[in-house]
Symmetry: C2
Subunit: 356 residues, 2 copies
């Protein structure tokens, strides 16, 4: 079978190498994964995930660090995002205090529809799922929770006071959110009670990232799983991880036109090809410049000058070098700045500085 995610192979790796690894163990991994879903916009059969995980530590500082990574990545890419957090323990606490401990998923799914459907329909849906009238009544203050994340947390702390698990969840969330200032995060971090992301998997924090300026599903997700390695025979190793969806992020970058223009070219210098003798003179120079870290090309054919210059133009190559009979005799290169049109004569040694 093809990889469905990078977490299971990682869990296997951790178990196989448990004796060589020092915990807490941090790893990142970039690889393609597959889905059998029907392909559609933003939903691919094959796509790349970029994962970062820390295992073997219960500390919430790990969650904080992953939030920081998310913030850094999207700041650098220039994508404005909202980092949405939830906690499985808060959801368990909610289900518990309304007396419907087993119905977390139904409750979460229904709450999620509040914006679209309004309160009445949400309550109807809850009832239709078989949730007791009394439980629905008790759920109202939670469904109607609003204000800042701080206010929501305060309210939840009160409402979930009877539930030990729920209280733990609120404390965890408050800890992570509380580090926001110290880290000088540049993106929103907020509590979103509707996040679930496969509840069976996560045991604590749940993380999801949405792009603010593009219509697309979540572009990063993750959370804490308390028994990742259990299926491979090493129980009790807690971990927390996130996964960036590279293809969706690429889609967002394209949609928002955030790819820098200079990304589409890399050759800095094109040597015009005037024929065999000139080529033989140039080859050692081209080899040397490349070893010096200059991305240069020699046009492969002694085509017409116009064609060679138009190749440089199309590929946005900023400098063109010409070496004919005179230049070979003098050991110089005629260098043309393709933007300004300016030409000057340089020696091979001066080349690097002349084009940078």
């Amino acid at each position: 079978g093809l990889r469905y995610d990078l977490t299971v192979p990682f869990a296997r790796y951790v178990v196989m190498h448990r004796n060589e690894i020092t915990f807490p163990f941090r790893r990142y991994q970039i690889q393609p994964v597959w889905r059998a879903d029907r392909p559609q916009k933003g939903r691919y059969r094959e796509f790349f995930q970029c994962d970062a995980d820390i295992v073997g530590s219960d500390s919430l500082l790990n969650e904080v660090e992953l939030v920081q990574i998310i913030d850094e990545v999207f700041s650098r890419l220039g994508i404005r995002v909202s980092v949405k957090l939830n906690n499985r323990k808060i959801l368990s606490g909610i289900a518990e205090i309304i007396g419907e401990a087993d119905r977390i998923t139904d409750i979460t799914v229904a709450i999620d529809k509040l914006d679209k459907m309004g309160l009445e329909k949400v309550n109807e849906e809850l009832a239709s799922k078989g949730i007791a009238r009394e439980a629905i009544d008790r759920l109202q203050p939670i469904i109607l929770l609003n204000g800042t994340t701080g206010e929501k947390l305060e309210k939840l702390r009160e409402l979930l006071a009877p539930s030990e698990t729920g209280t733990k969840g609120v404390e965890e969330m408050a800890f992570i959110i509380g580090k926001r200032e110290a880290l000088r995060l540049r993106n929103e971090v907020e509590l979103d009670l509707t996040l679930s992301r496969g509840l069976n998997y996560y045991t604590g924090t749940i993380i999801e990232v949405k792009a603010l300026d593009a219509q697309i599903g979540s572009i990063t997700g993750g959370g804490r799983y308390d028994n990742l390695t259990g299926i491979f025979g090493l129980p009790g190793v807690s971990g927390v991880g996130i996964s960036f969806g590279a293809d969706r992020i690429y889609d967002v970058l394209t949609q928002l036109e955030l790819f820098p223009e200079s990304f589409s070219h890399s050759t800095e210098l094109l040597f015009v090809n005037f024929g065999e003798r000139e080529v033989d003179w140039l080859l050692p120079l081209v080899a040397q410049l490349r070893r010096d870290g200059i991305c240069c090309e020699l046009y492969p054919e002694a085509a017409k000058m116009k064609k060679q210059l138009s190749y440089a133009d199309s590929n946005r190559i900023p400098f063109v070098a010409m070496v004919g009979e005179n230049e070979m005799k003098e050991g110089t290169i005629t260098l043309k700045n393709m933007q300004s049109g300016e030409q000057k004569s340089v020696t091979p040694d001066e080349m690097a500085r002349a084009i940078r």
Copy 2:
């Protein structure tokens, strides 16, 4: 179906974007590909290919450039290789002059066994494949071809004089080999008549790279294909390309112990975790140092000092920073060089210079 190579998708790309592309078109691509073969050492079901191709140009300078790329890559990796070249036109010429134009593959396969089996067995095999006695006789000078690549080419030029195709192949080979000096290649480049690499595919140069110090199949291969894009409806686009087998190269690097030790770690600086108050003091500093490009970590738990230092040790982290009550008061950091054991007090601003 899963990708079998990167060349077919590339050909498709070229045809789809023919109106936006400027030829000669150069691209590199790194992606996994798959084989249904039975997996064994050096033969994987899933493996990464790193391809470089140039299409839309017949110039042999493209072949020269690919040889240069090969030389550069393996020089940088520290793997000594032999770059073996052959040419489909030489093989066609040989088959032609001995009067067995259709039997290139049988002839190549038999010649390849000379070292292992000796001349007599090779001739027996040729006969058993139905190649005429007379043709086998004519083949002898080619089977017994020896000397330097220059000498072999000289001899082939004579032998293949009656074949136009064969002569063309010898000239192409001589041109590419002839650039060796000018490029200051650091690895052997030699003619190997036994190379075939799927003859139906290649039309000119055939390239194969073998590691000199490791027992493994070819680690890079390629050649010229004159009608790559034909199957997608754009005939006549010639191209030349090479493919590095990343996994086998990884195997060679491992076998020869060429991975630098410093590759296994990347964190430069570990902050010891003394507890909540210290963590809150450190978080903005850690965030700032990271933005300044310093790979640092904060140990996620206020574990025993010994445990935290042993984590730094196991992960070969060269510097450990300690911030306790005194340091917080003074705004300094106690920095420990893990190799020398030396400790000193630095300010946050001095940190970057202190560890590099």
